[in-house]
Amino acid sequence: MSTRTSYREALRAAHREALQRDPRVFIMGEDVGLYGGSYAVTKGLYDEFGEARVRDTPLSELGFVGAGIGAALGGMRPIVEVMTVNFSLLALDPIVNTAAALRHMSGGQYSVPVVIRMASGAGRQLAAQHSHSLEVWYAHVPGIKVLAPATVADARGMLWPALQDPDPVVMFEHAQLYNLEDELDDPPPVVDLVHAAVRRAGSALTIVTYGGSLPRALAAAQTLAADGIEAEVIDLRVLRPLDIETVLASVRKTRRVLMVDEGWRTCSLAAEVLARVAEDAFYELDAAPARVCSEEVPIPYARHLEEAALPSAPKIAAKARQMLGR
């Protein structure tokens, strides 16, 4: 039994399930209550669960993320929604200096079981202050787990295990994915927060990606298949800790690796993945590792410039052909 479900609806169902299953769970963030969430993820939950469990906050990321971390320390299981990753920079201090560090600094006496969700990514003409992909800023930090659900099933399934994690979890939802639709099994599949997933099997090269770039990578793979180039597409899913073994196993088979990352190229997650491949599979490689990343500019407002700045299926396919000398 399965139902056509959007990524947004899948997230909402996951939140409802969490609120129903655990009385310690509550949601807080800007406009998550009466308005139903900036991306309508929490729509209806305020009416269903009341203002104590779905709480609107002032426009103060530093304040309400800090409050969420405090609530987690106090025994609650907060889900904190930040409108975009750009705005989350105001809350880097409580996330990096407090949530990520407390277990270590307290010798294991305190844990911070908070889940912080945020939208990321470009493609909707919202310009440079609402469009960036800063996942790697969080993936850099020991002490937090970083998730990037890129499918409807992961949008449905990642929240509950994230709440079970005793340490802080940051979850990135690419804003272009909210309207993505797919069949969702009932009951929903159980997903883990450990493994990368092979979304398409292939033999000619491995395309590694995550989040909003997954649909583009799959589209590129389809184009390439028409020319007889079968690309394997890997969705990282968990950006920290990285499941590099799944990537390496694929690269040992295909001997070529191309990473697609909406983050900027310099010091990107792509840089980390390719460095790991070079370290651990150098003698398996039959071509230099390659990347398709965003251009190194603040994401432009104008549509054509924004499109030009982002990884796209044609750019991915062109780079893949180049790697194959085709």
Binding site: Y283, D286, Q322
Partner: protein, 370 residues
Amino acid sequence: MIEFKLPSLGSDMDDGKLIAWHVRPGDAVKKGQVIAVVDTSKAAIDIECWHDGVVHELITELGQTIPVGTVMARLLAPGEAAPVGAAPTSRQRVSPAARQRAAELGLDLAHVVGTGPQGAIGLEDVERAAAPAPKPAASAVSAASTPADRAAEMRKSIAAAMGRSKREIPHYYLSETVPMGRALEWLRTANAQRPVTTRLLPAVLLLKAVALAVRDCPEMNGLFVDGAFTPAAAAHIGVAISLRQGGLAAPALHDAGSKGLDELMRDLADLVKRCRAGSLRSSEMSDPTITVTNLGDQGVESVFGVIYPPQVALVGFGRVTERPWAEAGRVTVMPALTASLSADHRVSDGHRGALFLARLRDLLQRPEEL
């Protein structure tokens, strides 16, 4: 070190696909030498080098599509020494996997031909070299675009250039009836002494007259770039040539003003032939300073064209027809055509345009001086 970049071969060209290199690292090249072939939406174009020098490094790979302005190769200027330690092409590239496999097989990599990016030896190359009965080499020809693709691409690039022209250029239009009696009579006499293969077409007179007329009206002949007009030193006339698969190109007839009619006729025939065969040179695509369209051949009486940016004028010629002609109080029958001018009002005014057309008309009354 000289950077050789993909030139823009017209305002409708954004990128090109490298089909062939005609040079290799170490080759000496001369200014004007064809060093590469690039496929554009219009045709496969021979790309000329703009410098004397020695090829140091080829950067663009075969089959790669690159934007205009991309560095395709680096050249050493005459007398320049190769940078020390930077000899990127001297060492054979071998992928790590290929190197390891070759070691396992005891294969000498010196005898293996690399087919990977930048000529690198890949795993497949090693396996192929080690195989007892070598298979015929896989065809290196990339999947050629179909004529339908080409036509669609050309439509797109014409749309871009003409859309830009009508957005940016405030056109004004003038026309003038040009009596052609003297010119055609002169042509008949001139052709009577020529073998069939070298006979002159009326189009040659028209092109030469345009090239001479712009000498008196330099604001018709040049390019408008970044808000300023630069007159051209010579008249490189873009000749609009319709292509069999649809669409058109307007490559340059270089310095038409200083060529004799016979030379111009040869060059025109050659240009039309190569344009339809899809083998133009890059300078022919990028150099035109004014365009001439001769739709009279198709039977229309007059044509008011759209200027090809960044040029500033386009001259149109209609069909030669016999018309009643009043002159000196008498009516006679006169072969005549309508010459038109589309010009850029940012650069010239109607008054100058009128002088240009009048000059053009007068030149065509003295064919012996063309």
